[in-house]
C-alpha cells in the first residue's frame, strides 16, 4: 500500500518550526515537521495547510515543494512531499500527536540527532537550496 504524506518547513524570522512527537505515538519523542497523510482526492497545497492547522493551529503561506523522500514502514510505502511555507498568523497550539515545539535555525536543526529520517532528509534539502 502506498501512502502520500505532506509536511512543511515553516519559516519565521530566519528560523523554522520543528515539533516533538508524543511519547506514545510511532517514533516516540523524535522531532519532525508539521504534516500528515494526504486525504483521498485532496490537493497537496490544501493538504499542507490543513495539516499545519490541525497539528499546530498556524496559518501559513505555502510556497513550493523542496523535497520528496520515501521509506517503507510497517509494510507501507510512504512518500513524503515537503513544502516550504512562510508563517502567516496564529499562536501555536499542539495536537495530541506532539508534546513540544521549537523555532530553530535550520543549520542547527540539521545537526540534531533525534530527528526522524525523513525530517533530516527534508532539512538537508532545504539547506542545499539555500546554498545554490
Amino acid at each position: 500500500m502506498t501512502i502520500v504524506a505532506v509536511c512543511s518547513i515553516i519559516r519565521k524570522n530566519n528560523k523554522i518550526l520543528i515539533t516533538q512527537r508524543s511519547e506514545d505515538d510511532v517514533y516516540p519523542n523524535l522531532w519532525d515537521l508539521p504534516g500528515g497523510q494526504l486525504n483521498h482526492g485532496e490537493d497537496v497545497i490544501i493538504g499542507v495547510k490543513r495539516e499545519i492547522k490541525e497539528e499546530c493551529a498556524l496559518d501559513v503561506f505555502v510556497l513550493y515543494p523542496i523535497d520528496v523522500a520515501s521509506k517503507i514502514f510497517g509494510g507501507k510505502h510512504i512518500i513524503l512531499i515537503t513544502y516550504l511555507s512562510d508563517y502567516k498568523s496564529g499562536e501555536i497550539k499542539l495536537s495530541k500527536e506532539h508534546q513540544n515545539f521549537k523555532w530553530i535555525y535550520p543549520r542547527t536543526a540539521a545537526k540534531m540527532k533525534n530527528l526522524t529520517s525523513l525530517t533530516k532528509h527534508a532539512i538537508n534539502a532545504y539547506l542545499k537550496s539555500l546554498s545554490t
Binding site: T2, I3, V4, L38, H40, G41, E42, D43, V44, Y64, P65, I66, D67, V68, A69, S70, I72, H77, I79, I81, A125, S129
Partner: protein
Amino acid sequence: MQKIFVAFHSIIEKDGKILVLKRSSKDPFSADCWDLPGGVMNFGEEVVAALKREVKEECGLEIETLSPMDVSTRIDNEEQYVAVTFICEYKSGTVKLSKDHSEFKWVDAKKVPDLEDLNWVLEKAIYPYIEFTSI
C-alpha cells in the same frame, strides 16, 4: 477501493532547452499530447532511483536530479494520481524513445505553452518553471 499512485516527471535541461515527448496516438489517457519523461513509481522504490529509471526507460538518457518544481494531483473515480515534476540536468546519452512516445524535441521552455495539446502535468509545471528560470 481507493488507491493512490505517485508519478515522477522530469524537466531535463540541456543547453538552455528542455526535452518534451509526444505520447503515442494509442495512449489511453493523453494520446498525441506533449509531456515530460517520467512515470509511476514502483512499490518500495526510492524517489531519485524511480525518476532515473523512468527517464532511462522513456528516453534513454542519464540525468542528475536537482530539485522538485511542482506537484499536481488528479482524481479518476477511486484512483488518485500525485505527479511530482523535478528539474533535472542532462548527464549523458542520446534520446531513444520507447513505444509510449512517437516524437521528441528539445525546446525553449518559453515556447512550450505554444505547443498543441499539453498533458496535464506539463501544462501545470511549465509556468512556474518559466518564471523560475527567467530571473
